[in-house]
């Protein structure tokens, strides 16, 4: 009996790197994410009677890898979105607004792809990589700093990772990984700004 138990507990070892995702055959069960996420959408202004709260709406929440793909495959991809619209993917319970108390003391790492024509063929892939890095939580170690990721469709495309705090040491790791996710070369800089600085049109506090 005790031998049986020992054998079973060996399989439960936390040091075991093998996950169900390592083998396609084993990937049949539901694969929960560490956090539940909510997808939000900001629609562009089409009437002067609309205000910000009319434009920003939650679309759907999910908590597993399978659900993420089911949702992603059913919604318009980044380059199909109309100008002046946004996608926001945030942890459940956090509104994608700087006024939300979880965001209020934080800021954003951001990069703008200003040449629309150039980035149009690759933006879908880059945005998807951003989403995956955030929901898989490989964009940070265990800092639990990242609140969400935002895509703004304007003349160009702006991608931003929103953080809970402005601790520059922790932010550096996130920034470096974010840059890799967006496949940016060294000469292209991403910038970090606290929400306060952003709202006051100030200078970036950190760039990588």
């Amino acid at each position: 009996m005790s031998e049986e138990l020992t054998k079973k507990t060996e399989d439960l070892s936390l040091e075991n790197d093998h996950t169900v995702l390592s083998s396609k055959e084993e990937f049949t069960a539901k694969h929960p994410l560490n956090t539940k996420w909510t997808l939000w959408f900001t629609k562009p202004l089409t009437s002067k009677n609309e205000n910000w709260s009319d434009l920003l709406k939650p679309v759907i929440s999910f908590g597993s890898v399978e659900e993420f793909w089911g949702i992603y495959n059913s919604i318009p991809v980044a380059n199909q979105l109309p100008v002046k619209s946004d996608y926001h993917l945030f942890k459940e319970g956090i509104k994608p607004e700087w006024e939300d108390e979880q965001n209020a003391k934080g800021g954003r790492w951001q990069y703008t792809f200003s040449n629309r024509r150039e980035v149009l063929p690759v933006i879908n892939d880059l945005w998807l990589r951003g989403l995956l890095a955030v929901i898989g939580e490989t964009i940070e170690d265990d800092e639990n700093e990242v609140n969400g990721i935002v895509l703004n469709i304007r003349k160009g495309f702006r991608v931003a990772v929103w953080t809970k705090d402005c601790d520059l040491e922790k932010l550096k790791v996130i920034g470096e990984r974010f840059k890799k996710v967006l496949k940016l070369p060294d000469d292209q800089k991403i910038e970090f700004m606290s929400h306060d600085t952003f709202n006051n049109k100030g200078e970036a506090q950190l760039s990588l």
Binding site: S22, H31, F41, P44, T46, E66, P76, L81, S85
Partner: protein, 163 residues
């Protein structure tokens, strides 16, 4: 709880499960409709628009014209040339209206030549009475050129000696 790398997650794409197909379908349709609306570049003025005879949405932009300059409080500058007083030998000052360049004496010969040139080519146009005094442009179809026509005059024929 496990972390999933980007590559691991990409490999699991085929296991997709749509939790709420009706919600996502409605969302997709809404985004498509917005994109179509934005593409048409309809500028909505105060949320007010109408559908024209071709089925296109149009804004009442003609109600949103610029303020007329004549309603301004600042006085408009007087651009007319003022007559200047000329003093003759006896000391009398008279106001002489400056001549317009077209009627100036030095251009008199040119004016005559120009008139001679046009003499043969000029087309006389009968005025269109219905539009006189109106700001409407004269309908060119109503204008009849004064063409030379050969007509038979019975009175002249009676007095003709040839018969």
């Amino acid at each position: 709880m496990p972390k999933y790398t980007v590559d691991q997650l990409l490999e699991s794409r085929e296991l997709a499960h749509n939790p709420k197909p009706d919600v996502l379908d409605a969302f997709h349709k809404m985004v498509d409709a917005i994109a179509e609306h934005v593409e048409r570049k309809v500028k909505v003025v105060h949320g007010d628009s109408y559908i024209d005879e071709n089925g296109n949405e149009r804004a009442y932009s003609h109600l949103n014209r610029r303020r007329l300059s004549r309603l301004s409080n600042t006085p408009r500058p007087n651009l007319r040339k003022k007559s200047e007083p000329t003093v003759d030998q006896d000391g009398w000052a008279t106001f002489v209206k400056p001549k317009k360049s077209f009627g100036a004496e030095e251009g008199e010969n040119d004016k005559i030549k120009f008139r001679e040139l046009l003499k043969d080519t000029a087309v006389k146009v009968r005025p269109n009475n219905k539009n006189l005094g109106s700001s409407k442009a004269v309908d060119p179809r109503d204008a009849i050129a004064d063409k030379h026509t050969n007509t038979f005059n019975a009175f002249e024929a009676l007095g003709d000696d040839d018969d």
